[in-house]
Structures are given as structure tokens and as C-alpha cells.
């Protein structure tokens, strides 16, 4: 048996893959336009969140590495064990407070031609495998190497069409969809938390090992990657409070070492699973970042810190430091 997971996966794929030839292609009946990914109506939003086009979100990712922050991440300690109570009153109460703060924010005036600018610092696992020199099987690289990257994305407020992802010959779904939303789509989401959670679950059903975990992660994505209207942001927090298994983490740190209090949910995985955390500022009760941590070992496998979010007039524009969003 080969000792590197990389080599094993590569060998398996090469073992089973058979190349597609020109004669294969020519032998197929013409594929009609109905084969294209169609713009989904809201009731048809059934695909994989992360496999869908993120057209503008693909936008510029300015990545700079800074390994110095690794120590910060490994210094983080986490509370709680692998077991998950159905309801953690502390987590529910925190989310209620956070939701109230979000709901009180003024609704921004946004023009269709603008963009949501979201800048984050993220700690991601370095891909480089650890050389194996032992005598026992060690086919899997350790993912203990984190590096810092900066991400800047510009998400259109109203029109997701016109990008490379617009299907040819198809009417583009201009306002995006739940997992790739424009601001205008966010404005259409239910502000009733039960209805909002039902919408999210309808989209995520069938993806991933746990619907509850998928819903929790989706809510985190929506809150982190966009600037949600105040009432929708509040509803998202309240919807998160309805998800069984959420817990309170009293001491957490985001990717740049800012301390906060978190609501977490334990997902499946080795070593007791991976805990996904939404981290809030203790003083402002705003979302400041996210964290992923292996439950048993406390090892941080990823973290994000929200640096800036604001509406800007054109793609590529960076708002002044200190400008904040309403979410």
C-alpha cells in the first residue's frame, strides 16, 4: 500500500477513469438547450450550494500569506464536549440578543448598480503534506499547517447576469439564489425565522450528512459573505436558534485573534466531529468571524475574521477602513 493519501487517491482515480474521446462525443445525440443549468425558481433551488456558480463571488481573491498568525489559532481553547444538548439556553439567548442588535440597524439605501464588498482574513489549511518517514502506515497528511489569506469579494446588489456563468441562451436568474445571493434576493427572504429555516432546509435537503448542520453552515455563509438586510439578518440569527444541537462557546477567537463568544454546532467527522462556530463580539454582539475546530483535539482547522463589509459603487472599489455593514 502506498503511504501517501495523495498518491492513493490519484492512483484510484487514474485506475477507474476512462478518457472521453472525440468519437464518444460525436456518437452522442445532440444535447438540446434543456440540458443547460436552468435558472431556478425559488422552489427549484435544489442544487449543491458550493457547486453552483458564484460568478461575481468568484471575483478577485487577493491572497497573501502570513504564517505568523498560525500561533494565534493554535492558542485558542474551546469549551464543551462531543455531546450535543438539544437546546442550549445560553446559545439561544445569545442569538436572541444578537438578532435584536441586528434588527435595530438602519436599513441601507442601496442602488442596483452597486456591489456588496466583503473582506475577510481566513486561516486555511496548507495543502502541503507532511513527509512520511516512519515504518508504519501514515497515508494521510497532517492538516496542522494553517496559512492566512485575505479575500476580497464584490457581489452585485441586483444583477448576477452577464458574467462567465450566465448560461448561453437561457434567461439568467438575475438576483441569484440562496447560496449565491444578491442583495435583492436577500430582501426577498422570509423574516419569520421558522419560514426562513424551512426555506434553507428545502434547499439543503439531501446534501451532506446532516440537514441541521447544513442549515447551520448555510446561515453562517449567508451572514459572513453578504450584507443581509437588518430584518433578514435578525431572522437568520433567530433561525439558527431553532436548529437542534447548537451550543454556547464562551471563549473563542477568530482568525486574527479577536476574542469573542460563539454559538457552535458539532458536525460529523473524526475525533468527535468538527465544531462550526459563529463568533460574536462581546461588546457589540456583531458577527466577527467563524471557526472550525476538531472537537476532541481542539485543533483549529479553519477560521475567518470579517474585516470590512460595505456597499461600493463598482467592482474593485475598496471602501475606507472602518466602514461597517448593517449585518
Amino acid at each position: 500500500m502506498k503511504t501517501e493519501l495523495t498518491e492513493q487517491i490519484h492512483e484510484l482515480m487514474e485506475y477507474g477513469l476512462r478518457p472521453v474521446t472525440m468519437s464518444d462525443i460525436r456518437s452522442l445525440a445532440p444535447v438540446t438547450a434543456t440540458g443547460l443549468p436552468r435558472p431556478a425558481t425559488r422552489s427549484q433551488q435544489l442544487g449543491d450550494r458550493w457547486l453552483r456558480p458564484r460568478r461575481a463571488i468568484v471575483a478577485a481573491v487577493a491572497a497573501t500569506t502570513a504564517l505568523a498568525s498560525i500561533a494565534i489559532l493554535f492558542g485558542v481553547t474551546y469549551e464543551g464536549g462531543a455531546s450535543q444538548p438539544v437546546i442550549d439556553k445560553g446559545a439561544v439567548q445569545l442569538l436572541a440578543k444578537v438578532a435584536n442588535v441586528a434588527a435595530r440597524q438602519p436599513a441601507p439605501r442601496v442602488r442596483d448598480g452597486q456591489y456588496m464588498y466583503v473582506e475577510t482574513r481566513a486561516a486555511v489549511t496548507a495543502r502541503r503534506p507532511v513527509p512520511w518517514t516512519g515504518t508504519q502506515a501514515h497515508p494521510f497528511p497532517r492538516h496542522s499547517h494553517l496559512k492566512m489569506i485575505t479575500e476580497r469579494i464584490w457581489v452585485p446588489v441586483a444583477n448576477s447576469c452577464g458574467s462567465a456563468w450566465t448560461p448561453v441562451g437561457e434567461k439568467c436568474r438575475r438576483i441569484g439564489w440562496l447560496n449565491d445571493p444578491t442583495y435583492r434576493l436577500l430582501q426577498t427572504l422570509p423574516t419569520n425565522p421558522h419560514a426562513l429555516l424551512a426555506t434553507i432546509e428545502r434547499v439543503e435537503r439531501g446534501h451532506g450528512p446532516s440537514l441541521a448542520q447544513e442549515a447551520f453552515v448555510t446561515i453562517g455563509d449567508l451572514l459572513r459573505n453578504t450584507i443581509a438586510p437588518p430584518k433578514v439578518a435578525a431572522a437568520l440569527y433567530r433561525a439558527a436558534a431553532l436548529i437542534p444541537g447548537i451550543t454556547l462557546v464562551r471563549h473563542a477567537k477568530d482568525a486574527i485573534g479577536r476574542s469573542g463568544i460563539a454559538v457552535a454546532r458539532l458536525g460529523p467527522g473524526a475525533d468527535g466531529g468538527v465544531r462550526e462556530e459563529l463568533i460574536f463580539s462581546r461588546s457589540t454582539l456583531r458577527l466577527i468571524g467563524e471557526g472550525s475546530v476538531i472537537a476532541r483535539t481542539g485543533e483549529v482547522t479553519g477560521a475567518t475574521a470579517i474585516i470590512r463589509r460595505a456597499f461600493v459603487d463598482h467592482r474593485g472599489q475598496v471602501p475606507p477602513a472602518g466602514q461597517r455593514s448593517s449585518a
Binding site: 478518457p19 457547486l51 453552483r52 456558480p53 463571488i57 482547522t301
Partner: protein, 160 residues
């Protein structure tokens, strides 16, 4: 001097070059999602679509990523049992862990795509992001979860 418009032969040559260049990437990605057989079918259908609409598709800047979506849309109608996704037959000349095909099949599609492309084919997170249209950090998240789950499924951990 004005160049003559491209002929049918020019288009065919260009398409064949595209298949040669992008075909393997599509094939790997769609096989990671749907398994060897369905993935291959999805790749063939996506490329057939590309051929049918070759001139129209020239305006697409990320054509491989676009065809990845087409392949996905063609494959959603299929429902191959997970255990058969990476079927390698009863016997064979290979040196990978025999439990790997089933362990890989047990991951979510997102995890599997990240694990196969990044670890199996040394794609960068950025390359996977460009192909699939998602953010590198999201790829990273699924990669971490996928590796963690693979370790669990195969009963191996870093300390071994």
C-alpha cells in the same frame, strides 16, 4: 488585411484542442462527484453540448467551469448507488488501500470533489474555485472535513 472567417475545419480543430486540454479536468471533477461511470457520461454529454454550441460558447470566458455546470445538470437525473461510484471490480493490479473507493464514496459530493482534485491531482484551491465557481475558503472547508472523515472511515489518524 482582413483574415478570412474561420471554417468548419478551423472550428473542429479548435474544439479538439479544447477537448484535449479541458477534457481531463472536466472528467476528473465530474468523476469525483458522480463516480467513474456517471462522471464519464456527464463529461461526454457536457462536451457534446460544447460541440453543438461551439461558436456560441466562444463568448464564455470560463468555458471549462461552464461545462462543469452543464455536466452537473446532466447528471442530476442519475442515481447510482454510492457504493458503486468507484467500483474497481473484484480484482485488479493496484496498490491503494482497498477500502478507499468506498470511503471516498461515503464523503459528500463537496468533500469528495475537494479531496480528489486537491489531494489526488494537486490542484490549488484557486483552481478548484475557478472550475467550480466557489470560494477557495469554502473548498478548503470541505477539504478539511473530507480528509477528517476519510481518516475516520479508514480507521487511520495522524498519530499512526
Amino acid at each position: 488585411m482582413t483574415l478570412p472567417p474561420p471554417t468548419a475545419n478551423d472550428h473542429e480543430a479548435a474544439f479538439e484542442r479544447f477537448v484535449e486540454e479541458a477534457g481531463p479536468r472536466l472528467s476528473r471533477a465530474l468523476a469525483a462527484l458522480y463516480g467513474f461511470e456517471d462522471g464519464r457520461d456527464a463529461t461526454a454529454e457536457a462536451l457534446a453540448y460544447a460541440w453543438e454550441n461551439w461558436q456560441q460558447l466562444q463568448q464564455i470566458t470560463n468555458l471549462t467551469g461552464y461545462l462543469f455546470r452543464v455536466g452537473q445538470s446532466r447528471s442530476r437525473r442519475r442515481s447510482q448507488p454510492a457504493a458503486e461510484l468507484f467500483d474497481i471490480g473484484e480484482q485488479g493490479d493496484y496498490s491503494f488501500e482497498p477500502g478507499l473507493p468506498k470511503a471516498l464514496a461515503a464523503l459528500t459530493q463537496r468533500q469528495r470533489l475537494a479531496v480528489v482534485l486537491v489531494h489526488g491531482y494537486s490542484y490549488t484551491l484557486r483552481e478548484v474555485a475557478e472550475l467550480t465557481g466557489i470560494r477557495p475558503t469554502t473548498v478548503q472547508n470541505h477539504l478539511s472535513r473530507g480528509l477528517s472523515r476519510l481518516r475516520s472511515l479508514l480507521g487511520v489518524n495522524d498519530e499512526d
